[in-house]
Symmetry: C2
Subunit: 409 residues, 2 copies
């Protein structure tokens, strides 16, 4: 877990503001849920492997006797820190459905916690930016989500992002055609999910080690995987369908491409996109940027999940951006209000000091007071590094002319 | 702990943005620390009674054997949720001192957690907005803090706030004069802190029950407590000093009043202001608004605290606003971007739907798509209640004229 110093905090805040403002323009509304959820909800099986990574909160008022009686950690905790924003959203929607519009488009931009082993680029507290459309079974939900996410990535300066798309139903249909038994689908998908990392040979090797059939998949891999085939669009879909695949989800993907209009050229059909979470029931997608070799986020349709909390099924699709993954890709934006450092002599009357500060704030400046040090140079360098453009000396005689601060090299 | 629905979340966000922007104008910089701190830090004695209210996080990987061996909760936890923003700030400053300016002015606006019994108006997760000046022993720190806080409260529409001010050293000097033994000061102050709630008679009664002397204090209470006496300023201070009080802190308060210039009329000297936290070493203050019978926040000087983490003492003064206490006092501000609901017929091509949405966003609208229901009226009412000003029908023939939505009564 990390501290954020002023420059990075300001960068993160500006970025989050732009993301939230763009999603809001697209008709999404921000909500907030508590950081802490009941253990029973966090450990209901919906969070997949992430459930094991939840931080648990010790019940209050326990004593030695309770500790002795406890068999597992679950006996001692009653709440935990959320490990994602999807489980809390499902709980939120089940609680507040009557107060929300029939089709509810939510924004959540908030930290989550996972007790992962510390490693480079992984944090135990990190921010996710999720948008979800709840209550819309039609493909317009996917279309709005993808359009809003691409617009948001454009707005923060990450132009050129593309979305890989697939459908869980295509995956399972394909596995059937390739000769996998249904009970081995989960295991096969875990292996196929590694395609980006280990390549086709690596996937075939691991499937064989698992005792799973590889011949049909190997044949499929040997087909020329031209760019044309992978490019999204009616024609590519038609080339794919004769293979015997379930046609409904293929038609859905084509309809999403059609609905996205000119944005469809930023969509890529990837028949081997898996997405780890078990709760996806239909479309799945991931977003990538040419300058990053990892995905910036992803999502999919999870029509069955909210029903677990509500008792009746509700259609839902979501898109989650990994904020920590994009924050480093995006250049720091300039400050909005000009910053002036007032460097005052030690004998200046505090009343005059405050008066000058108030006047400069009223004139539209962000103002910092600094007592004049013996050696001015290090202070001026630090102020420039912190984004101050100008400084002005203040003596008992009054405020001197403002001078520009050289930007650090 | 609470969920926030879109309208309230937007209200809170706008308010927080204004607070942070105003503090930034005044030269403060926002930082962020993790929600979770090490237990040893949270339970180091600096948090007073709040330490008992900290939520503890169970260590990972423990088994039955560990539970049996545990004697207290502290044996089973290694981290906890922060109960205030001051302990994390002290830890942050000790860690990052070399990267921060000599006088560091921080903003923190973030949630804290306390395992209090649920009661009306109290939440177990709530937001505090703290500003602190670290490294400035002079009274300019108090002057900047108070001026920035009053400007911020003005900016969110809470004009008319006043600050009650006192100094811990005045309190202890006064207790000495009233015949209290030094070892009874803490107990006496706990009682005197209830003056607002139980009145003078209640305070005298409780002190007597504790076996503490009440005569001199009763005499002091019987003096005419005129508004003039309580009004801040040189003259009031002079009336107070002849009593035999330690003069240094009294002069400090007068200097703060002088430094605040015309803002001094919003300052009230309250010789019985206590503030609960034990770490205060000098000035203490609380801010109140005429329409609220509780304080909106407070703070003081705590010069000894950061030294606990750093090894060498560092001057520090802070002001904390209770965000939950002000959020309900402030009227909801209007949306910044106009909101348009596009009500579409079911047969409209999704591609056309997205195109219209994108065009309206490009024209500066926040846009929500709504499928046309059989009965339009409830939908229009809901949209109006959610802050939408206009709606326009969309059919296969194109977007119709936008009509105004009546604001809800």
């Amino acid at each position: 877990m990390r501290d954020f110093l002023p420059a990075e905090k300001a960068h993160r805040d500006r970025l989050l503001s732009t993301i939230k403002a763009t999603y809001r323009e697209h008709g999404f509304d921000e909500i907030e849920t508590p950081v802490v959820e009941d253990s029973s909800r966090l450990n209901s099986g919906l969070g997949g492997d992430n459930e094991k990574l939840a931080f648990g909160i010790l019940k209050r008022g326990l004593g030695e006797e309770d500790f002795t009686k406890a068999e597992t950690a679950l006996d001692l905790i009653d709440m935990g820190l959320r490990f994602d924003l999807t489980v809390p959203l499902a709980r939120f929607y089940a609680t507040h459905r009557g107060e929300l519009p029939a089709v509810f488009r939510s924004i959540q931009a908030a930290p989550v916690w996972r007790a992962e082993r510390p490693q480079k680029g992984r944090y135990r507290q990190f921010v996710q930016c999720d948008i979800d459309v709840i209550g819309e079974p039609g493909l317009i939900a996917e279309i709005e989500l993808i359009a809003a996410t691409l617009a948001t990535l454009d707005a923060i300066g990450l132009e050129g992002c593309t979305v890989r798309i697939n459908d869980r139903r295509i995956l399972t249909s394909m596995l059937g055609l390739f000769g996998f038994a249904p009970e081995t689908f989960d295991s096969a998908l875990i292996t196929i999910d590694k395609l980006d990392k280990v390549g086709q040979e690596g996937v075939l090797k691991e499937l064989a080690e698992k005792g799973l059939p590889t011949e049909a998949l190997a044949t499929f891999f040997r087909r020329p995987m031209t760019m044309e085939f992978l490019t999204f669009g009616e024609r590519a879909i038609q080339k794919f369908t004769p293979e015997g695949i379930d046609e409904a989800p293929v038609r859905d993907l084509a309809a999403i491409g059609h609905g996205l209009g000119e944005l469809a050229h930023r969509l890529t059909f990837d028949p081997f996109l898996v997405r780890g979470m078990g709760y996806y029931t239909g479309t799945i997608f991931e977003v990538a940027h040419p300058s990053a070799d990892y995905s910036l986020g992803g999502g999919g349709r999870y029509d069955g999940m909210i029903g677990r909390f509500l008792g009746s099924d509700v259609a839902a699709v979501g898109f989650s951006l990994g904020f920590e993954r994009i924050v480093d890709l995006v250049e720091t934006q300039a400050e909005q209000s000009p910053a002036l450092a007032v460097i005052y002599d030690v004998d200046v009357d505090p009343a005059q000091l405050l008066q000058v500060k108030q006047q400069q704030i009223a004139a539209g400046n962000r103002v910092r007071l600094e007592r004049r040090p013996k050696n001015l140079k290090p202070l001026l360098e630090q102020l420039a590094a912190e984004g101050f453009e100008r400084y002005a000396p203040l003596t008992a005689a009054g405020l001197g002319d403002a001078k520009a601060l050289a930007a650090p090299e």
